[in-house]
């Protein structure tokens, strides 16, 4: 019980302090662009009505979910293939490094050209950024699976499929999860950016609209909401991480 309380204090301590600092520092603010936090919080409830959630937040989250899920599926599948087939790895490595080095936001105008300005474009933009960290980490993870484990699998004639699912995939999973964590952060950024270019709905669209109509407190409330959304996604991710890689984390703490 005491441990839980201490942990809660540790986790919530700094955010509370920062929130309080912002609150009091901005309390007497007369600046148009930096309104008092009390005003932003008051605006929050008025701005993010059920309709707004339905019209803007849900579509954003749905696009992010679709793009992220597609990136995970494609990244892991392709990564397993490239990581296991030596010549394919050597053939694709330079291209993959190049693709990763291109900053994803610059692809937005290009993707708009062929994917239009609908949901498909936004999902494509998210995939164009999320795929690479997952793919590259999966390839690296697959290639770093312990050769003794692979020898063991071969000696017992586990077969291709079982070697892949029972040995290679779990062996690479710490790296795969790392890639997915990086991709999630990139995905949130691209979700917002894609909605700033050409959209009729979404969190990014709403924030830009508030800004253009000089609804500054509402704009700030949107930014706060985005921050909360990111934190919530990270928390969900941490739970998945603990569930999937419990053996990895426990092994590292218990062996040390």
């Amino acid at each position: 019980m005491i441990v839980l309380v201490r942990k809660a204090l540790l986790v919530l301590g700094l955010p509370s302090v920062l929130f309080a600092l912002w609150w009091f520092a901005s309390a007497g603010s007369t600046s148009f662009y930096f309104p008092p936090l009390s005003e932003i919080v008051a605006e929050f409830g008025e701005t993010w009505t059920a309709e707004r959630w339905r019209e803007d937040v849900l579509p954003s989250v749905a696009r992010l979910g679709a793009g992220y899920a597609a990136s995970c599926a494609a990244g892991v599948a392709l990564g397993l293939l490239i990581g296991r087939v030596r010549w394919l790895f050597h053939a694709t490595e330079p291209v993959l490094e190049f693709a990763r080095a291109v900053p994803p936001p610059v692809l937005v105008p290009v993707i708009m050209l062929f994917a239009g300005i609908g949901d498909g474009m936004k999902v494509a933009v998210i995939i164009s950024g999320c795929l690479w960290p997952i793919l590259l980490n999966t390839v690296a993870g697959v290639r770093s699976v312990d050769p003794v484990q692979l020898d063991t699998a071969a000696a017992y004639r586990l077969g291709r499929f079982r070697t892949l699912t029972a040995i290679v995939l779990p062996g690479a999973s710490p790296r795969i999860v790392t890639g997915m964590r990086q991709a999630l952060a990139i995905g949130v950024i691209l979700m917002v950016i894609s909605e700033m270019f050409a959209a009729q709905s979404g969190l990014g669209f709403a924030i830009v609209q508030f800004q253009r109509s000089y609804a500054i407190p509402a704009m700030w409330s949107g930014i706060l909401l985005l921050g909360c959304l990111g934190a919530a996604l990270a928390a969900v991710f941490a739970c998945v991480d603990r569930a999937v890689l419990h053996w990895y984390h426990r092994q590292r703490t218990e062996e040390a």
Partner: protein
């Protein structure tokens, strides 16, 4: 059971061809326990990997039951030196032992029974739910041995399995292998760099030369089936055999033929 016919292996370093194993020929009969020793770097592990079908020989062949090994042979299990890396840390002990059984067409209950039996034989009864990394090194290697015997191989290949455990544990594991071999009637090829271990365990000891490796000597260990860590090791016969193998290895190191 196992026939090694003129097997050899070269490897390339910077475009230059080095001969690791020149040509080795020997046979292991069904139910035999044979130890292979040699000076360090003589290619013992390479030899085992070729017998296990994990490495293709440059020349010659290994044959199991008269069939040339061109991939891991049926009914063969391997125990590696690196127990910590051979067990899968994402599986509990039970799942580790059970994994190779999954393709044998057994029912779930049959698999469970084999796992329980194998764990009992290595003195780890009821440890199915434990994670491998929660066990000591010696216990982890016993899990790897349990995995091998649950598979019920006819041929068991062991690559310096006790090189990384402490002396006390090592003695226990040696007796465990003698005991399992006698009980299960399997053929065991045991690779080691430890002369005492080879004499204590084997019915026969094959001594390899330095690279390019050939078979240097073959020593028959007439110590009888009952062996005891204290009595056997302090007997005059043991000392004599030990001296014999030792002399061969020293000569091999000096490169005498």
């Amino acid at each position: 059971m196992l026939e090694v016919a003129g097997i050899g292996r070269d490897y390339r370093v910077d475009g230059e061809v080095h001969t690791a194993i020149d040509a080795l020929t020997f046979q292991v009969a069904e139910g035999e326990l044979v130890c292979v020793v040699g000076p360090s770097g003589c290619g013992k592990t390479t030899l085992l990997r070729m017998c296990a079908g994990l490495l293709a020989p440059t020349r010659g062949a290994a044959l199991v039951d008269g069939r040339e090994v061109d991939g891991p042979p049926e009914d063969t299990a391997v125990v590696f030196q690196e127990y910590g890396r051979s067990l899968f840390p994402w599986m509990r002990v039970g799942a580790n032992v059970e994994l190779p059984l999954k393709r044998l067409g057994l029912t779930r209950a049959q698999r469970r029974e084999r796992v329980a039996e194998a764990l009992r034989l290595v003195d780890l009864e009821g440890k199915e739910r434990v994670w491998p990394w929660q066990l000591s090194g010696g216990m982890q290697q016993r899990v790897a041995i349990a995995r091998a015997i649950a598979f019920r191989p006819r041929l068991l290949l062991m690559d310096e399995p006790f090189a990384a455990v402490d002396a006390q544990t090592r003695a226990d594991l040696e007796d465990l292998i003698r005991d399992l071999w006698a009980r299960l009637g399997i053929t065991v090829v045991f690779i080691t760099h430890d002369i005492d271990e080879s004499v204590y365990l084997g019915q026969r000891v094959l001594v390899l030369s330095s690279p390019p490796t050939t078979l240097r000597a073959e020593v028959h260990i007439g110590l009888g089936p009952e062996r005891d860590q204290l009595e056997t090791r302090s007997s005059p016969a043991f000392a004599k055999l030990r001296g014999q193998v030792w002399a061969e290895i020293q000569a091999a190191k000096r490169g005498e033929t």
